[in-house]
Symmetry: D2
Subunit: 355 residues, 4 copies
Amino acid sequence: MKKLTIISFLFLSIISVALGQRKIVNLPDLPGYVTLKCDFHMHTVFSDGNVWPLVRIDEALRDGLDAIAITDHLEYTPKKEFIPVDHNAAWKIGETYARERNLILVHATEITRKMPPGHFNALFINDASLIARDSVWDAFEAAIKQGAFLHWNHPGWKAQEPDGIPKLYDIHKRLIKNKWLHGIEFFNDSEYYPLVFEICKQNNIALIANSDSHGILSEDYTEPEYTNRPMTLVFAKTRSHDALKEAMFSGRTIAYFKNMLAGKEEYVKPFFYQCISIGKPYFQNEKSLFFEVTNKSDIPFYLINGIPDAPSAITLSANSVTRVVISKKVTAPLVYDVKNVITGEKDVLKVELKY
Amino acid sequence: MKKLTIISFLFLSIISVALGQRKIVNLPDLPGYVTLKCDFHMHTVFSDGNVWPLVRIDEALRDGLDAIAITDHLEYTPKKEFIPVDHNAAWKIGETYARERNLILVHATEITRKMPPGHFNALFINDASLIARDSVWDAFEAAIKQGAFLHWNHPGWKAQEPDGIPKLYDIHKRLIKNKWLHGIEFFNDSEYYPLVFEICKQNNIALIANSDSHGILSEDYTEPEYTNRPMTLVFAKTRSHDALKEAMFSGRTIAYFKNMLAGKEEYVKPFFYQCISIGKPYFQNEKSLFFEVTNKSDIPFYLINGIPDAPSAITLSANSVTRVVISKKVTAPLVYDVKNVITGEKDVLKVELKY
Amino acid sequence: MKKLTIISFLFLSIISVALGQRKIVNLPDLPGYVTLKCDFHMHTVFSDGNVWPLVRIDEALRDGLDAIAITDHLEYTPKKEFIPVDHNAAWKIGETYARERNLILVHATEITRKMPPGHFNALFINDASLIARDSVWDAFEAAIKQGAFLHWNHPGWKAQEPDGIPKLYDIHKRLIKNKWLHGIEFFNDSEYYPLVFEICKQNNIALIANSDSHGILSEDYTEPEYTNRPMTLVFAKTRSHDALKEAMFSGRTIAYFKNMLAGKEEYVKPFFYQCISIGKPYFQNEKSLFFEVTNKSDIPFYLINGIPDAPSAITLSANSVTRVVISKKVTAPLVYDVKNVITGEKDVLKVELKY
Amino acid sequence: MKKLTIISFLFLSIISVALGQRKIVNLPDLPGYVTLKCDFHMHTVFSDGNVWPLVRIDEALRDGLDAIAITDHLEYTPKKEFIPVDHNAAWKIGETYARERNLILVHATEITRKMPPGHFNALFINDASLIARDSVWDAFEAAIKQGAFLHWNHPGWKAQEPDGIPKLYDIHKRLIKNKWLHGIEFFNDSEYYPLVFEICKQNNIALIANSDSHGILSEDYTEPEYTNRPMTLVFAKTRSHDALKEAMFSGRTIAYFKNMLAGKEEYVKPFFYQCISIGKPYFQNEKSLFFEVTNKSDIPFYLINGIPDAPSAITLSANSVTRVVISKKVTAPLVYDVKNVITGEKDVLKVELKY
């Protein structure tokens, strides 16, 4: 009865208070849009997760997120011997708590089937229990009726696709044809699925990155290459539930994890140039010019395949100013491939440094 | 349905496996006894905690504990709108899981009342539901009937004793007279209660240190002075449930937290000398002798009040060899007070370094 | 002959290269000025330090500084048995290396005497050897002749002032009268001297914060409260050697260390308001308004002494958004004292949060 | 003149003091021998390093070493414009400082030539200046005359062998024939040279691991896979200079870096079994036995290639107790390859877990 990090019930009598912090994640906006940091896939004790729903909200604030969806499984509730099934429990418990903390909580659920079709999250719903249907197609239809954004989860998960390769079965093609498939996870947990890219491009489907957390988030992603949990960056007109929804249906997303960005060139290109700025040369000697590239974002950029006589590779470390020395012999544009900004199954972003 | 740190249900089909690690906490045994690292106070979603019971077992293994008790409140179950009350739930869920991992899980509960008498844990019980009685005395009696080790929790908790001072009310005196009060928390969460010492000494009651965790343990105690969660060190004849119980009822404990040890001199004195060893002088010059003190434990010792001509203070850092230089003029025994080894309300351990 | 972090001599043949990074320290500029992060006091093997001069430059870049001065002692050269005395050695070794890396290296030295007058740094000089004079006053005069900015070091250093209190001796008064004393260290190493404030205010002298590093900087300041080395923030018209010098002589500085800012109100007040921004209320219920305060700087601000019915204290954590809940009963301006922004010996900054 | 970590000169007047700590590195002894942790290759400002010699001693104590050699280059002294060449300077400066701190300082130097023959350290010498000879063979001879232990440094260093492959040139064969080559670096800095193994085995030459540090050691090896600097483990009869020398000439060494051990089977096999202990089964069910393996060392062991029906791989984490579950069907000895204990160019140690 002591020491509650989750102070919801105490809150009734507290009228003036400093209510905790949300970390700032240093990622730029795009012109006309704010960049919302989101995670649309996680579990609680109401399915096979190990934490109470409010823990997910506290974790999101600590990680600097703008929006989350709690997506307990409709069809897999292994704790039901002790916890009665209530598909809307996490939403009911979290709604006010999130609103008071300026976090956008998206009402959601996970449709959990064998492959095909596999697992799907339905976001922006209003009653998960109506989606718990025997037939998976009925479940999809019930979700769509509620205006759901439907996204396919971990399409190459080895427990369902032992070769790790996402495949479009008939039911997926039918979903696409109906325009019922709005997103696919490119990153899930610690995996990613490069082949998702072409499916998304050809069918105008949003790329998604989610944690799919079951346990304690601060205890996952502790390996140094996992600088943060997987996040979907959504470019919304404002920081609001409805603007988020509009942006998602319009496909304005980048999947972000492990210092990698995966997205359509129309989003990752301006995003890269919002992250960096290039100064005028600050020094020169007989042979070389010296200039600086400032990267004000939390993402390092790994530039490779430099032109002859230029540095063959440059790392623009996160939140750092990188000094570059260029031979005065270099006259061609200083173009690079950005190794960690993925624009297709086998493509990375090309950029130019103009000094 | 993916990525379970808590793999209990998968376990059925796994017959040969490496089942994870338990960290070694570097603390010595006492002659004739093994030192069991224990935490007898923590909560889950079955009362006002925020995690599933198996999380508590995983946390204990990661922290190198030998034994824990999960002590959900009998009288405070704020999640009952979603989770039906079952006072033995944590025990039922955790019993086999703990045994397979060689962790001693103590069946327990918390009797949770206003002051007086405050909160009490009943350890080594067999049915918590029988202890859920209207009258607190009936609850105590029901616990004792089950052979419980009864310990008083956070006796100076400011929510119950605004001046922070533990007080013996009539009901506590009655418990003591009946020999029903077997332990008192000296450390709870991040607090401690120096006055507990005299009560324990006069009445042969064990000193206890517990975390009283409600949230995520790895997210508590992150301040650098909190090197670990509060632990009760128990000196048991073997590493087993029954030997633990015998040692507790015999009062062979030290309370350990924040690099402090609090206990009766008969336990902390030999414990200190088991932690350290002193080498012969390795060097001398005209004026001084040089020798080393090895501290093989995880606990630093802060020696103060040195004799004239000797170093006035020496820090024996954890897992380190400390070099000491002594004037050849020093002939008296090299005695010190150990600032962080508490043997009474105002007393600390006195030791001698024999080189 | 291998693996040189200090690649100066290799550089001759390298014409195009990525030359390493400078960390971004998140501190805002003031309108009309850029905020230069500076450390004007450190030592090398050419006096009693333990590193080669280029190490100081590499350390400065890693710490995100804009300018440093290496200030080897004129009068204390304990390594002279092995290293011949050369008072300009650090400057000669570092000058080009710093310029290539866009770090402002200030030519400097330390005049090192018993108290009075104690130790003084002379910055912006052109030949340290001319300042090595028997009489300390001759040394001051030689420095001033070179146009030096003269600042008094650690005026309350206990090795020189056992009571820790800075005192103005006659020679200091004479320096002030001559307008030869341009700065005084408020922070030095891990100490600070509150009484310096009044001397600086009354005599229009700049407040300075310096590391006075002798050893390895990354191995100092590892205690968690030392988030960075001491820095002098200088508000210069441009990021250049000459603009730095002009700003120093004009006294536009803040001393910064251990999450404390010490400076004249005319600088710390606009600096505080450049660090934070306050959003419109994002939520309300019957009794309260909820709004956010964004602190985009690396410095947390500790607001205390809130008005009645408002939160009594608010921590605006660094690089975080803090949520504040205000009773609708509050109508007065939301004023606070900022505990860690010092404007006088006993004064702290007063601010208002306008939501 | 303030805050000296290196307090040598202050020491004169200090007669009684606690003189700092040496970290304990958890590595077992072998029966009859103590395990000395050593680094025989590092530089200071007296060649191309960037620190004063005493820094190397402080670093060694902090890292828990028993012995070091400072090996400034004879032929490469790029700081000579500022620091006169003195090949014995580091020894003269460090000798007493090390002795007072119970660190074995080995008098040494580095013979620094183009390939062939490359670079060689001469350890246990008494005057480096006599080894500074024009002809490299004369240098070798002068070292041997002083009783030197001669070891070949980084034999596959790409600056000298672009293909990274160590090669025995005539001069090396002549050294071997003369029995003048006593050791070869298997690990140097962050590189290693597997082919060294066969040369060492065939010619009874000791395997060596050294840091070859030029800069600040605590700033190298910060990548998580570099848990410590490269160390040569030497099995000496006592912890003394002379016993170290005897053990080195007898070839009783293991090279240790990045959680890898490389050595002759006669040393690494008993060393492995000294690190671990295996408990009796603590639990069983119908199908499986459960037992624990305790690894009290700082080195994790990666066991692979398990027999049928046993776990295919087991990680025995450092300072941890690992739980292993074995099918009751397993009757054959539980043998494994230890992936990170190297006994030859392509061989790893084979072990058996007896439970």
